[in-house]
Amino acid sequence: MLALKRILRTGFEYVEDWFDIVFGAKWNPFYQLGALGWFYYWIVVISGIYLYIFFDTGVTQAYKSLEYLTHEQWYAGGIMRSLHRYASDALVVMMMVHLLREFAMDRFRSSRWFAWFTGVPMLWLVFTAGISGYWMVWDQLAQYIAIATAELFDSLPFFGESIARNFLSDEKLSGRFFTLMVFMHIALPLFLLFIMWIHIQRHASPKVNPPKGLAIGTFSMLLILSFIKPAQSQPPADLNIVPATVNLDWFYMPLYPVLNDVSGITVWIALVGATALLMMMPWMPPGKRAPVAVINLDNCNGCSRCAVDCPFSAISMEPRSDGKVYKQEPVVDASHCPSCGICVGSCPTATPFKRRIEQSAGIELPTDAIKELKEKTIKASDNLTGNSRIIVYGCQHSMDPAEIVDTELGVVTMPCIGMLPLTFIDFILSKKLADGVFLTGCRDGDCYFRQGIKWTEERIVGERDPRLRKGVMKERLGTYWAGLTRREEFFKELTAFHMHLNKLASVQTENGDNSTESSEKVDA
C-alpha cells in the first residue's frame, strides 16, 4: 500500500510539474480539484434549472421536450443541455482524481478522516444523480440503463415483484416513472450539496471557488465544446425493440457492461464492499497518529494568532481559565488537530532567543518542541565551515534534504514548514550559526497542511504576524518549494544560494570585514 501510494504520489507530482509550467502554481487544476468540483456542480445546477423549465414528464413527451430544446432552441436549451452533460462528466473526473490524489498524498488520516469519510457517500450521490438524469431522456440509452438498473435491483432479495417487468412494454410504463425520476434527479443533487457542505466543515478556509482565470478557462472550454459537439439524444426508446448497441457515457456508466457478465448480487457485494473499504481507510494500518498540539498557558497571552492560522479549525478561543489578566485562551480540539505545528509558527512566544531554554512556547507539539528545534538547529550548525554555511529547514512531507548534509549544510526537518517560527532565521544569522537559511517544503500551492507555505511567505514579506524582523538580512534567506520530485531544481537553487552567500562574503571582505570573524559563532 505504501509503495503504491509513493508511486502514485510521484506520478502526480511529475504530471503536476507540467501543469505548473503551463498554468502556474496558482491556477494548477490539480491544486484546485475540490474547487473545480464545486464549480462544475454549480454549472450543472444552473443549467439543470433551465432544462427543468422546459422538460415534460411523460412517456413520449420527455423525449420530445428534449428534442425541442436540442434542435429548435439549440442556441439556449441546446447549449444548456450540453453544459449540463459536460459539466457533469467533468465533475466525475474532478471527483475521482481528487479522491485518488488525496489517497496518494496520504491526506485522509488523522483528523482528516472527516473529509475523506464524508466524501465517499458523495460518489454514490453523484453517480446516482447522473444516471437518473440519463433515464429522463427516455431514448435508447435510457431504455438500456433503465432495464439494466432495474435488473440490478431485482437481484437483491428485498423486492418481491420484479422492477424490470415495468419495462417490458410501453403500455406498462407510466408517466409516474418520469415524475419519480425528476424527483430523484432534483433531490439527490440537493442532498449532495448538503454533504458537500459537511465535507468542508473542518477546513478553516476551504477552496470552493477556483481562481478566476481557471474558472474562466474551464467554463470557456465547456461552452466551446457545447457549440462544437452539442449533447444529443439517441433514438427514442421503444420497449418492443432491443437497442442492442448503445453509446454509454463512460464517466457515469463504466460498470454497466460488467452487469452483462457478472451476477447482480456479485456487483452489489463488490460495490458495498468497496464503499466500506474506502470509508474505513483512514483507520487502516499504517495509521500512526502524532500527538496533537498542547497549550502552555504560562506562556500564552491569548493573542489568538494560532486559532486564526490553524487551517483545520482545530483551535478555538475560550474564556481564560487560569485567572490571568488576558481575556481568552486557546483550546485545541484533538479530533481536528493533524499535528502540523502551524500554530507553533504563529505563536509569538515560540522563539529560540529565550534565555531559559527549558521554557516552552504558548503552544507546542509534544514531539517537536521549540526547545528541541533549537537544539537541532544548533547541532546542525555545529560542524559547518566556510563562508556559505547554510541551515536548511525542510518539511517531512516533501523530499528529504538529509542526504545533502555536508560541511557547509545542516538540515532540520519538521512536520510542516509553517511550523517554523521565523525568529529562528533571526537567531541563526544573529548568532552566526550559519551564513544563510534556506527553507523548503511541499510545492508552492500544494502544502500538505494547506497553508504552511502561504503563511510562511506572508510572514517573510511582513504581511502576517508574527513577521520576520525587519532588521534580518533577507538576502541571507532563500526558499524553494521542492515537493518530492523537484530535486534537480532544488539543488540548483541551493547551489545558487551558496554562490550568492560566497559573493556576499567577498563583498564583506572587500569592505574590510574580517571573514573569519564573521563566521565565528556567538554563544547561542
Binding site: 501543469f19 509550467i21 503551463v22 498554468f23 502556474g24 491556477w27 487544476p29 452533460r85 459536460y86 462528466d89 467533468a90 473526473v93 438500456y144 435488473e151 431485482d154 432479495p157 418481491g160 415483484e161 420484479s162 424490470a164 417487468r165 417490458l168 412494454s169 478557462g217 474551464t218 470557456s220 472550454m221 465547456l222 466551446i224 465544446l225 462544437i228 459537439k229 449533447a231 444529443q232 420497449l239 418492443n240 425493440i241 432491443v242 437497442p243 442492442a244 448497441t245 448503445v246 453509446n247 454509454l248 457515457d249 463512460w250 464517466f251 454497466y256 457492461p257 452483462n260
Partner: protein
C-alpha cells in the same frame, strides 16, 4: 500580460480535456445484444399452490390454543416452486423451477429470463406447473410468431387471464 507559454499551454490542456469529455461522454459504443438476434423474455410473477392444504383444527387442538389465538383452520403459508418450460421449434429454451419469495416462502415466484433467439418464424410451447402433480403441467400454451432482428417477444403469465399470454 500573460506569458505566451501559459496561453498556449492552457489552450492545449483544455483542448485535451474537452476532447476526453467529448469522446467518452458517448463513445465507444457498447453492444450488449447481438444485433442479428431477436430476444424472448419470459417474465411474470405467479403464486403457486400451497405446500400443504388447509385443514380444520380438531376441537382438542383449538382448546389447547390460547383463547385469543384460537382459529378454526390451519393453513400453512409455504408455497410450492413454480416450474416453467419453454420449447421453441422442438428445442427446450428454458426448463427451470423458481422458488417462492419471502422469508416464509409464501410469496409469488418471480420469473425473469432473457433468451436471445434467431429471427424468423417460430413455434413456441410454454408450460407451467404450480401444483403437487409430478407429471405434466397445469398450464400449457402454443403460439406461432415471427421475429425480426432485435425484436422483443414477451411471454407473460396471468392466472386470472387463463394462463400464458404474449406481447
Amino acid at each position: 500580460m500573460p506569458k505566451i507559454r501559459y496561453i498556449l499551454g492552457q489552450i492545449g490542456a483544455f483542448t485535451l480535456f474537452a476532447l476526453g469529455l467529448a469522446y467518452f461522454s458517448n463513445s465507444p459504443s457498447y453492444t450488449y445484444h447481438d444485433p442479428e438476434m431477436a430476444l424472448i423474455m419470459v417474465s411474470f410473477s405467479h403464486a403457486s399452490k400451497h405446500v400443504k392444504e388447509c385443514r380444520r383444527f380438531t376441537p382438542e387442538e383449538i382448546a389447547a390454543m390460547a383463547p385469543n389465538m384460537r382459529r378454526p383452520m390451519d393453513c400453512p403459508r409455504e408455497r410450492l416452486p413454480v416450474h416453467v418450460e419453454v420449447i421453441m421449434d422442438g428445442n427446450i429454451l428454458l426448463s427451470k423451477s423458481y422458488n417462492p419469495t419471502g422469508l416464509s416462502k409464501d410469496g409469488s415466484a418471480s420469473v425473469y429470463e432473457s433468451i436471445p433467439v434467431k429471427p424468423g418464424q417460430h413455434q413456441i410451447v410454454a408450460k407451467l406447473r404450480d401444483s403437487h402433480r409430478q407429471d405434466g403441467f397445469d398450464y400449457e400454451s402454443n403460439v406461432s410468431f415471427s421475429l425480426n432482428p432485435r425484436e422483443l417477444f414477451v411471454i407473460d403469465f396471468r392466472e386470472e387471464l387463463g394462463g400464458f399470454y404474449y406481447q
